[in-house]
């Protein structure tokens, strides 16, 4: 299990700005280690964002997304106290789900 995500969700003007920082290596599969062997690709492929249990956005990522990915989005109609749940699945099948409360 990977390290937890850091999620911050703040409500303003009828929407909530959600910022997520995920802990992930995001290896491209192109880098080589010190002995010249390729480091296999290891990156987050699917990301799902849910607001109070209803999916509001899904994303597919490639290896070009930066290490320890950051993502910012605005969820309409989310207000203080609502739950924002974010989950990801990487290309090795590892997954992680974290929840935050809108403040």
């Amino acid at each position: 299990m990977a390290d937890p995500m850091r999620i911050r969700a703040q409500a303003a003007d009828g929407k909530a700005t959600v910022r997520v920082l995920m802990a992930h290596e995001m290896e491209t599969g192109l880098r080589k280690d010190s002995s010249g062997n390729k480091i296999p690709a290891w990156f987050i492929q699917d990301v799902t964002v849910a607001h109070n249990g209803a999916t509001v956005m899904t994303a597919q990522w490639g290896p070009s997304v930066a290490k320890n990915p950051f993502m910012q989005l605005a969820v309409k109609g989310a207000k203080a106290g609502d739950k924002i749940t974010i989950s990801w699945v990487d290309n090795k099948g590892d997954k992680r789900t974290d929840e935050a409360t809108v403040s």
């Binding site: 929407k15 995001m26 491209t28 192109l30 880098r31 080589k32 492929q45 699917d46 799902t48 964002v49 607001h51 209803a54 999916t55 509001v56 956005m57 899904t58 994303a59 597919q60 990522w61 490639g62 290896p63 070009s64 997304v65 930066a66 290490k67 990915p69 950051f70 993502m71 910012q72 989005l73 605005a74 969820v75 309409k76 109609g77 699945v89 290309n91 099948g93």
Partner: protein
Amino acid sequence: MQTRREMLAHSATVAGLLAAAGLLPQAAQAAWNEAAFSAKTLADVVKAMGGSAPAASADVSINGPDIAENGAVVPVGAATTLAGAKRLMLLVEKNPSALAAVFDLTDSVEPNINTRVKMGQSSNVYAVAMMADGKVLFAQKEIKVTLGGCGG
């Protein structure tokens, strides 16, 4: 307040749309679009995602620095002012695989997403919006990189 009937109808519509796009959450792992992520050019990526020929549009915007000091972490964002965007994509033209990220939107999120990408070298970066009516619009910006983020 939605009635249960409306709620169900709405859910069915959404499920239908998701299924049509091959993006039901359960199937998400399988739906990862390998063809799109291995495509090299904007046109190929859009084709692999099932879109029509992309057109430049002033209603789509891309946020990013003019010069990125570190190609490993380049903050970029895609946004559109148009209603009805169902998908936003970010592409880095000269990366080994051009497509960086695809965001499938619903009506509950604003079509304005920011993230960070890696860039191997100075390149054009595209923000592409696929609209509900089938139009594919894009904006581009050249970002210069002083230190690459791929290979090593």
